[in-house]
């Protein structure tokens, strides 16, 4: 009588198997339940988004629009930041090929950087990027944390005055409200519309 009958053993082992998911559920479910109240951080604040790898900002001054791309998006002090400036002219009537943003070829301009204290840290020449019409590039190494001011100044190939001001946050994250977005709302970003005349 000491030996159990096979059906009893089968029932017992099945019961053990059924209990396994319950154990797992208890273990992980409990840990999840424990983590739930702290998902937004101990103070109940929402988690900040990671810094963007690249950040674009558009400014419009008169008949010109400048779309700047910062890489990294939010630079750190003493780390180089690569700035690409896409300088364009806004025509009174859309251009058959470029629409309402004509790339400025052959422009010569500089970008002067001012540190958060308002002191000039240098006037950097923007170099025309090879094989990219209207695109210019430069490097800046900010040395302080805070909001830098950049002033674009120069001339187009036709001798028109180019001037624009914008802000560059350095290790400022999350961004203040006025620097959120792409800045495109001030004058509209580059049009993504297909050209009026299609190439054959």
């Amino acid at each position: 009588m000491g030996e159990r009958s096979p059906p009893v053993r089968i029932i017992k082992s099945l019961a053990h198997l059924a209990a396994l998911p319950l154990c797992f559920g208890l273990l992980f479910g409990a840990s999840n339940a424990a983590a739930q109240p702290f998902a937004d951080g101990p103070d109940g604040k929402t988690e900040t988004k990671p810094k963007p790898k690249r950040r674009a900002w558009t400014v419009k001054e008169g008949q010109f629009a400048y779309s700047l791309e910062f890489n990294p998006g939010i630079p750190d002090p003493n780390k180089v930041v690569e700035i690409h400036v896409f300088a364009t002219k806004i025509p009174s009537t859309p251009h058959p090929r470029y629409g309402n943003r004509i790339p400025l070829k052959g422009a010569t301009f500089t970008v002067e950087a001012f540190n958060p204290a308002g002191e000039s840290v240098g006037r950097f020449r923007a170099h025309a990027l090879p094989l990219q019409a209207g695109r210019y590039g430069l490097h800046i190494t900010p040395t302080q944390e805070g909001i830098y001011e950049l002033i674009i100044a120069g001339k187009s190939a036709e001798g028109e005055q180019l001037k624009a001001r914008l802000k560059m946050p350095v290790k400022v994250w999350p961004l203040p409200k006025e620097l959120e977005g792409s800045g495109a709302d001030v004058g509209g970003g580059p049009r993504r519309r297909a050209p009026v005349v299609k190439k054959r």
């Binding site: 003493n78 180089v80 690569e82 010569t108 500089t110 002067e112 308002g118 002191e119 000039s120 840290v121 240098g122 006037r123 950097f124 020449r125 170099h127 990027l129 090879p130 590039g137 430069l138 490097h139 800046i140 190494t141 040395t143 002033i151």
Partner: protein, 294 residues
């Protein structure tokens, strides 16, 4: 002190000098790239041959001579770094595979911090010409008579930079090649001044000095490179010579300030004479070019 630290101090010094509470300073020299990033790249790619501070190394030439490096324009220096253009063994110097487009410009900007640049003296000028001139025998005689110095063969030549102002082109600093048509546009009345870099030795200093003059030969700026030991004090003392001198000057400079200033005046005067005589050679060539204009 590391290069980076030194650069930070230089930048800070330049900031203090140029900002002076002004929101936007047009006379701030234009940088061809980011010198701080350029310093890091220089340490990686160039320092092994040219030396950590640019004073030359096993195979690389010194990059501290303002007289020799200023005639090389930024675009030429870019081509030298990118593909070794203009060098004996271009392949050995081509860094195109190691440095990106903007990084090469950063390196150029850093190399410019190793010596004095023309923008340090004439940041607001529009155009300039550069050419090496050799003082003729009459000039050598004048230097010897008035300055008491007999110039050696190697000291008789120097590059003269002549600057011109054009309306609406301030600060462009555009190089004008030795092309008769383009040179013809450079009229005497548009001349802003001259600049000559010469070796200079005085108590506690042995290096190079930049002598900037207006078209009459009056000193507008005397300066040595700020990285040199004692440069700050020396530049301050040298600022007292501004407004002195004229073409054909024979008598030594007289400045108050005791023995040390008298010694400095004694050392500066022959250098000024030498700069003046080199400029005289430029003037002679200019007269030959523009005699029909008057």
């Amino acid at each position: 002190m590391s290069i980076l630290n030194r650069l930070s101090y230089l930048a800070l010094g330049a900031t203090v000098l140029t900002s002076a509470g002004v929101a936007h300073a047009d006379d701030t020299p234009i940088l061809s790239g980011d010198p701080l990033n350029g310093a890091k790249l220089y340490a990686q790619e160039c320092a092994a041959c040219h030396g950590a501070n640019g004073r030359g190394g096993r195979t690389g030439v010194a990059l501290t001579s303002s007289d020799q490096l200023n005639p090389i324009r930024d675009i030429q220096m870019y081509a030298m770094i990118e593909k070794g253009a203009g060098l004996k063994n271009p392949g050995e110097h081509a860094l195109k595979s190691k440095l990106k487009y903007l990084e090469i410009w950063d390196t150029v900007a850093h190399v410019r911090t190793l010596h004095m640049t023309i923008a340090d003296f004439f940041a607001n000028a529009s155009r300039y010409v550069a050419k090496e001139y050799t003082i003729d025998k009459y000039g050598l005689q004048r230097v010897e008579e008035n300055g008491g110095v007999r110039l050696k063969k190697k000291d008789q030549s120097a590059a003269v930079f002549t600057f011109f102002d054009f309306e609406g082109e301030q600060g462009a600093l555009q190089f004008v090649p030795q092309d008769p048509i383009r040179l013809d546009q450079l009229k005497k009345d548009k001349k802003a001044g001259y600049l000559v870099f010469l070796p200079f030795k005085t108590k506690g200093f042995d290096g190079e000095i930049g002598v900037a003059m207006d078209p009459r030969g009056v000193i507008t700026k005397l300066a040595v490179h700020s990285s040199k030991k004692g440069a700050e004090l020396l530049n301050k003392s040298q600022s007292r010579f501004e407004g002195m001198g004229r073409k054909g000057q024979k008598t030594p400079f007289k400045v108050s300030g005791g023995k040390s200033m008298a010694k400095l005046a004694k050392d500066v005067f022959p250098v000024y004479l030498r700069a003046m005589e080199t400029v005289t050679m430029y003037d002679r060539e200019e007269r030959e070019r523009t005699w029909a204009d008057d």
